[in-house]
């Protein structure tokens, strides 16, 4: 183990590799910042640039883009409620509220700190126990994933506390939109109306740009431009208390993120909102969630970074990509003449350990890059809205076009922009809609596969102890809060009574 780490540092700490690592994380931050351009596209587009490099250097840079994008995706989520990355959707809820209160700097700083801590924790786990964890991940067959998806839906529905019915409504609407396109398993076309652009479904990225970015701009135009947020530079800097308050959320977020990250196909988006949903339940500060709670930024941001690292567990140990971006990275392995698979650790130790150690270096670079920049970025909010909104509109539409070089994406963004505006007018929560859209295809795939495994009988779910455990947890998420409240009240009353008696 120790000599492996040493080998890793020897490989990663060459001047060339550190420079390319920096270029990777810097480009990643920029890519994460731009709406529509996620880490998957970023890695794919920049892949040809690395052909001239050594394989290990190229992979260090490409991986840097990947986790760098997780940092960058936060910035626009917080500042203008426009997630640059799918995994940052959840951050908009509390992050944007914090920005409105002049605390954008603190939100950005805590996400950088949380991301850093999560990355280091998950990296240690990745280095120490990747192969055994990969075996655990394999135990999550479609049957178990079906249970996980139900758990996810429960979290989505109960996402924004009080508005349970509205949340459920929007989640179902998201699931419905997710049914457009060719169905998994049977290859039947649904709701495509003969339009080839709809065959692969309504793409998540366009919906996200439309609802969040355009929806917010339209809404603000209707409201009549609000005053730019005037915050003193001093308030932009994070306080010690913010960090200590967020620590439990960061640690829980790292754990949740890592757990979801190792499951093939689940990825950081799922991890980020799961951790937000769980944090809303267990945090000391849960009353402020949705109104600008710093924990509501710290938890999902830690989770998406932990998940990004954990994604490398199946990727490196089994040769099976954990998510879309690691799939492109695996493609890069092949292009460089490396055979991804379980033997990679043995046949290419310098490459694997060099890559893992470079994550550590990359995250240190990102922290150095992001902490001082947080208050600077936050100053962007001082730009009068008359200038800011056209810029947002422009980057959103260009971003939409460049996703697939297709005008159809631009129309989609405009349609969902109007829908997003209407949702805001009607005070309907947007996050459950988007997350329903994310979960829809995953849920349906797990359902079709489980049904095929059980030859039409979904009862197979009950034969898997893991699946039953996950389902029980889902039931507990709904039932427990209802039981705890009256229980506490009862306890309180008993205490009052005993105080009365002793008092007398």
């Amino acid at each position: 183990m120790l000599e492996n780490l040493l080998l890793g540092f020897q490989t990663a700490l060459t001047v060339e590799n550190v420079i390319w690592c920096f270029i990777g994380v810097f480009l990643g931050t920029v890519i994460g910042l731009l709406p529509g351009l996620g880490s998957t596209t970023g890695v794919a587009v920049l892949l040809p640039l690395t052909f001239a490099l050594e394989p290990v250097t190229a992979l260090i840079m490409l991986a840097g883009i990947y986790y760098g994008a997780q940092y960058g995706g936060t910035i626009t989520s917080v500042l203008i409620s426009t997630p640059g990355e799918a995994a940052s959707v959840v951050t908009t809820i509390d992050g944007y509220q914090m920005a409105k209160r002049g605390r954008a700097g603190a939100a950005l700083a805590i996400s950088a700190i949380g991301s850093f801590i999560a990355a280091i924790i998950s990296l240690a786990l990745l280095i120490a126990v990747a192969p055994p964890l990969a075996d655990v991940a394999l135990k999550f067959t479609p049957v178990e994933m079906f249970a996980v998806m139900i758990f996810g839906l429960v979290i989505v529905v109960t996402f924004q506390g009080g508005a349970l019915i509205r949340g459920a409504l929007m989640a179902v609407a998201g699931l419905l939109v997710a049914t457009v396109g060719i169905s998994p398993g049977t290859s039947t076309e649904r709701f495509t109306f003969g339009n080839v652009n709809l065959l692969s479904g309504i793409p998540f990225v366009e919906v996200m740009i439309g609802i969040f970015a355009l929806g917010e701009v339209f809404y603000q135009i209707r409201m009549g431009a609000a005053e730019p947020i005037k915050a003193r530079f001093k308030d932009m800097v994070i306080k010690r208390k913010d960090i200590t308050d967020s620590m439990p959320a960061i640690l829980r977020g790292s754990g949740v993120g890592f757990a979801f990250g190792i499951l093939p196909g689940a990825g950081s988006t799922l991890a980020s909102f799961m951790s937000y949903g769980i944090e809303r339940r267990v945090s000391k500060n849960k009353a402020n969630f949705g109104k600008g709670a710093i924990e509501g930024v710290a938890a999902p941001e830690s989770a998406n970074n932990a998940a990004a690292n954990a994604n490398f567990v199946p990727t490196l140990a089994l040769g099976i990509p954990g998510g879309a971006t690691t799939a492109v990275l695996l493609g890069a392995f092949t292009i460089f003449g490396l055979q991804p698979g379980p033997l990679l650790f043995e046949t290419q130790p310098a490459l694997v350990w060099g890559l893992l150690v470079s994550f550590f270096i990359g995250n240190v670079l990102l922290l150095i890059l992001n902490l001082p920049l947080a208050p600077v970025f936050a100053q962007m909010l001082r730009i009068p809205y008359g200038y800011l909104y056209p810029i947002i509109l422009l980057t959103s539409l260009i971003g939409a076009y460049s996703v697939s070089n297709n005008m159809f994406s631009v129309w989609l963004v405009l349609i969902f922009g109007i829908l997003g505006y209407l949702m805001k007018e009607l005070d309907l929560p947007m996050a459950p809609f988007v997350l329903g859209l994310v979960l829809g295809p995953l849920f349906e795939k797990a359902l079709v596969q489980t049904s095929a495994i059980g030859r039409g009988d979904l009862g197979v779910v009950l034969q898997s102890p893991i699946a039953v455990g996950v389902l029980l947890a889902a039931v507990a998420m709904i039932v427990l809060p209802k039981l705890i409240k009256p229980g506490r009240a009862l306890l309180g009353r008993m205490r009052d009574r005993s105080e009365e008696t002793t008092g007398v």
């Binding site: 398993g185 795939k445 095929a452």
Partner: protein, 326 residues
């Protein structure tokens, strides 16, 4: 901002390509003098699938090879969506434009058979088939199956055999259906999306048998986590790693089916343009780059051009139709 990054990436590819050209000192194919008129300078290679996948890799390999052969600049553009339908439909609109090419594979034939699209292979001008990618029948390392005959026998038994497929006209659906038709048996299917999911399904015990391209699964074969029980190719592989794998035909199962890769031009282009690209393709096949691509991806180098390629497509399409209509 965003387009700037794309521009930078594209120009970087172009610079890399130009550098490659100047270093090999390649001259344009002799066709130019003979046919005179057609000489493309700025060419688009459409890849109808996402960057990083098998089609993308082959599209970029072909583009780079053709650049060397012709001296033209060829930019690769991914237009993904609808299992390739979006890219092919976009390509359909480029009719008559000899400056457009598309990295094609089995989806060209499969889509018209299953999906409501406005094209079939006759809508385009097929230029070249690059080679064939056969599949291996793969089981987990500790599986009781030693041969494909074992798999077929088990499928005849009471418990059946669970196989992985990736959609109605995916390569694995086609080969398992061909085995079923040949042996008069029926498999139980669990649907997946793509090769890496199938590998996870095999390792996790969800399915008993999968069918995968050698390049997708070589890592797991070498580690012993997965085992190839037969190759669905006409002849045994010559690659050292795969030479020991018997063909299905050897085991009494008369099935061989390949996924082909190649490139096509839009329909209605001039004869000069068609001949220009065929000549360039022949130059590319003679290059070391071509050999390296075929070997890296463990494919078989069965190149076909022009009319021969069209005949092959007609036959392949008929074979596919027999499976789909079943």
């Amino acid at each position: 901002m965003k387009s700037r990054i794309t521009t930078v990436a594209i120009s970087a590819v172009a610079i890399a390509a130009l550098a490659a050209c100047s270093s090999t000192g390649a001259t344009p194919a002799g066709s130019e003098g003979a046919e005179g008129a057609f000489a493309p300078t700025d060419v688009r290679m459409i890849v109808p699938f996402a960057a990083g996948g098998g089609s993308d890799v082959s599209g970029r390999a072909i583009a780079s090879g053709l650049e060397d052969a012709t001296g033209a600049t060829i930019t690769t553009e991914n237009r993904e969506g609808g299992s390739g339908a979006v890219g092919y439909s976009h390509f359909l609109a480029q009719e008559g434009n000899g400056n457009y090419l598309l990295a094609a594979e089995t989806a060209l034939l499969a889509l018209p058979l299953t999906t409501d699209v406005e094209f079939n292979y006759e809508s385009f001008t097929p230029i070249m088939k690059l080679g064939d990618d056969y599949t291996l029948v793969v089981v987990p390392g500790d599986s009781e199956f030693q041969t494909c005959t074992d798999v077929v026998d088990a499928a005849r038994g009471d418990d059946g055999v669970v196989v992985a497929v990736s959609g109605a006209v995916s390569l694995d659906e086609v080969v398992f259906t061909l085995i079923e038709q040949d042996q008069d048996i029926e498999f139980d299917r669990v649907p997946f999306e793509g090769g890496s999911e199938v590998i996870a399904g095999l390792l996790g015990g969800t399915v008993e048998v999968g069918s995968l391209n050698p390049s997708e699964v070589l890592g797991q074969l070498e580690s012993g986590d997965l085992r190839a029980v037969c190759a669905l190719s006409a002849d045994r592989y010559e690659y050292e790693e795969l030479a020991d794998v018997p063909t299905a035909v050897e085991q009494g199962i008369d099935v061989a089916f390949a996924q082909w890769r190649g490139f096509i031009a839009p329909g209605g282009i001039s004869d000069e343009a068609r001949q220009y690209w065929i000549d360039a393709a022949e130059d590319y096949v003679a290059s070391e780059e071509y050999t390296a691509y075929i070997e890296d991806n463990l494919m078989q180098a069965n190149a076909l051009y022009g009319d021969e390629f069209v005949e092959y497509l007609a036959q392949n399409s008929a074979d596919l139709e027999a499976v789909v209509s079943q």
